[in-house]
């Protein structure tokens, strides 16, 4: 099988597996496993090892926006009592649930809701209203990040993970096999390593950010699946063999913030003619580092130190490093109305920037004229 065919087949297979029980494809068939709705940085390796299906409402909100349906859903959610000041991921999904609609229908009904606070506090709040709606157990996992000494955080998280395992064993009726958990973590590690090869290629090859913004979805939804690392290995090979090297000429810019999910290119391609995007921090958010000599240490290090759970100093350090590595001389910096936690991430970045007020879901939020003006000023600065 040629590499391209294998890439397409693997992507299709992963997608099919993920969406199999969404209402548009399930033909009324109920999932054969217990279902959890999880946030983007949930230790899903535990769920995988216990054979529990899981779905990511945040990711689905991105799919909804990409399909152009978000405005209807935002309106519905407002009518249903949710303020549009809340993160648009939550509003978009609320609308989709109320309308029982979405580009792939709706996700299967949850048996349990699991939220983590390692990226924001919006998610656990949002999961609370889902718990009221579906009347199912809600589990909130706290990850203290860098706020307290590491040892203290590690013990707290370890006990929560232990408890989660017990609760999920009860829910699924399965007993956790540690060897399987090890294997799932190892798969995730391999997915991260393979993905990193793609990320490394971005500064040197003419790879559109669109490819990476869309490509990362497998690292989010299927990181413990062994097919994911294979897919990324193949993509990395394809990009390094078939994508030309970047030329001198255009100003090298870093995309600092979320993809614009509603945009067909996920970034402002049409307004960035004289720039080339050579890096992005969003595409590194799921490069979790599963460090440690046992499964619990690995899960702790992966999920406690996610980008949005780091101190400002550490975030700045990481961003500076990423920007330097990319060779970017300026940045398109996005202030996301939905995400207070990311709003300040770039506040200490010193390269010239066009700072744009955006929302990653709501296409009507950005003032495009103002954005173009700022991009124009940046262009004048970096020449």
């Amino acid at each position: 099988m040629g590499a391209n065919v294998e890439i397409l087949k693997t992507q299709a297979k992963l997608m099919k597996e993920y969406y199999k029980y969404f209402s548009k494809y399930s033909k009324g068939k109920e999932p054969d496993k217990k279902v959890a709705w999880v946030t983007a940085f949930t230790p899903v390796e535990i769920l995988e090892a216990l054979d529990i299906s899981y779905y990511y409402p945040e990711s689905y909100a991105a799919v909804i926006a990409a399909s152009g349906k978000e405005q209807d859903f935002l309106e519905t959610s407002q009518r249903d009592g949710l303020s549009l000041d809340c993160c648009s991921y939550s509003c978009c999904i609320q609308g989709s649930i109320c309308n029982a609609d979405g580009p792939r229908g709706t996700a299967p009904r949850p048996d349990v809701l699991i939220a983590t606070n390692n990226q924001c506090n919006t998610l656990p709040n949002w999961w609370n209203i889902l718990a009221e709606r579906y009347d199912v157990p809600l589990i909130v996992l706290d990850y203290p990040g860098e706020n307290v000494p590491r040892e203290m955080a590690e013990k707290y998280v370890y006990n929560q993970h232990k408890k989660l395992i017990k609760q999920m064993e009860e829910l699924s009726g399965n007993k956790l096999d540690m060897a399987i958990l090890e294997e799932k973590i190892s798969n995730s590690q391999k997915s991260v390593e393979a993905w990193e090869k793609i990320v490394e290629l971005m500064p040197e090859r003419q790879i559109e950010p669109t490819l990476l913004f869309d490509g990362i979805s497998f690292l989010i939804t299927s990181r413990c699946d062994e097919k994911t690392s294979r897919l990324y290995e193949l993509l990395a090979e394809d990009y390094s063999e078939n994508y030309p090297k970047r030329q001198e000429g255009k100003a090298k810019a870093f995309w600092l913030g979320y993809p614009l999910w509603y945009h067909e290119n996920r970034y402002l391609k049409e307004s960035l003619d004289s720039f080339e995007i050579v890096g992005s921090n969003y595409i590194t958010w799921w490069s979790l580092s599963y460090e440690g000599d046992d499964v619990f240490k690995k899960l702790f290090s992966a999920y406690n130190f996610t980008f949005l759970n780091l101190s400002q100093q550490e975030r700045t350090k990481r961003l500076v490093h990423l920007i330097e590595k990319s060779g970017a001389k300026c940045a398109i910096t996005l202030h996301n109305k939905s995400c207070k936690c990311d709003f300040v991430s770039a506040s200490e970045i010193k390269i010239p920037q066009a700072e744009l007020d955006i929302d990653m879901i709501d296409r009507n939020y950005m003032d495009m004229d103002r954005a173009k003006e700022k991009i124009g000023i940046l262009q004048d600065i970096v020449g």
């Binding site: 303020s83 949002w126 009221e132 408890k163």
Partner: protein, 321 residues
């Protein structure tokens, strides 16, 4: 040592902290609640304060440490704790010890267990005193009650219990039209006077400085004093940022129905996502119980909330029924 604390989640058992109520700050941070923006301003600009302690319990609080980066002032952020079990108590106990050490290091002081136990006794007594008044809320002016609370909480802890009894709170003649208040810390008390002037009787609340404060179980002294404090802190009515809407709804609905409340007033800050999420389910519960609901949103802590028209309409609906 003068520390400004944000929110009711911050413990008073270790040392005196001033609870933040309001400040005319010039810092406006897009999409952040004005309460946090004004808090940051006061810590930065008000020279009386040499320290800040705040939680990581909502998205606005979460990033406070990104703004407060001066080494000259003490700064401590409490992690967010959603559970209420042995693990959560043990963790919070460790955090409390860490907080104490941080205070001792920064201020070059020593805080003994006896100091902490002494404070616990006062906090327990204060809760009892306040609870007595709270139980009689339907007969007294809520505006005066809250004025007393705000003044008392601004005093050093050791003066607080004595101060409570020195306040005189007037009885009210209006006993019908019972309403209940929900929200984050109240920065402007004049809204309460407006509510009472319209003939509504505030009979309960779940505000951090009142209903939630007195709902905490007293700290029972034990070998591990920090764990005892932790247990107490995680007990009682929670804030929506502590992630147990279910418990909060149950407790509030119980109080609302037992006090025959006919209307609920939600007092919130613009861009406060915990309350934005919470109110969406709260309102549905009230609709099921046919209880009227109104929301008054403040854009910062000093805005003079003139909600006359909405409140008048709300009061009319209630009085008419």
């Amino acid at each position: 040592m003068k520390i400004l604390a944000l929110s009711g989640i911050i413990p008073e058992h270790i040392c005196d902290v001033d609870r933040f109520f309001a400040y005319a700050g010039d810092k406006k941070i897009n999409h952040y609640c004005g309460y946090v923006a004004d808090y940051i301003c006061q810590v930065e600009q008000d020279d009386r304060y040499d320290g800040a302690v705040y939680p990581k319990s909502c998205d606005s609080c979460r990033v406070i440490s990104s703004y407060l980066r001066s080494d000259d002032k003490f700064s401590y952020q409490f992690p967010s704790i959603s559970g209420n079990d042995e693990n959560a108590w043990d963790f919070l106990a460790c955090v409390l010890k860490d907080y104490k050490s941080a205070l001792e290091n920064f201020y070059e002081i020593e805080i003994s267990v006896a100091d902490v136990e002494n404070r616990i006794e006062i906090i327990n007594k204060r809760a009892k005193e306040l609870e007595k008044i709270y139980e009689n809320l339907e007969n007294i002016s809520y505006f005066e009650y809250m004025t007393m609370i705000h003044q008392v909480l601004s005093l050093p802890l050791e003066e607080q219990v004595g101060a409570i009894s020195s306040f005189e709170i007037n009885d009210i003649s209006q006993k019908d039209n019972s309403v209940f208040i929900v929200g984050s810390t109240l920065s402007q008390l004049n809204i309460l006077q407006q509510i009472e002037d319209l003939g509504l009787n505030i009979v309960g609340d779940s505000l951090p400085e009142s209903g939630r404060l007195i709902s905490k179980e007293p700290v029972t002294l034990s070998d591990d004093v920090y764990k005892s404090i932790a247990k107490s802190m995680l007990s009682g009515k929670k804030s929506p940022s502590e992630n147990d809407f279910h418990q909060m709804l149950e407790l509030d609905m119980e109080e609302i129905t037992s006090k025959k409340v006919v209307g609920v007033i939600f007092l919130t800050q613009k861009y406060c996502e915990p309350y934005n999420f919470y109110k969406s389910v709260y309102k549905k519960k009230l609709d099921e119980l046919c209880i009227k609901y109104i929301e008054i949103e403040q854009k910062d802590t000093v805005e003079d909330i003139r909600a006359d028209v909405v409140l008048e309409t709300f009061a009319e609906m209630i009085v008419r029924n």
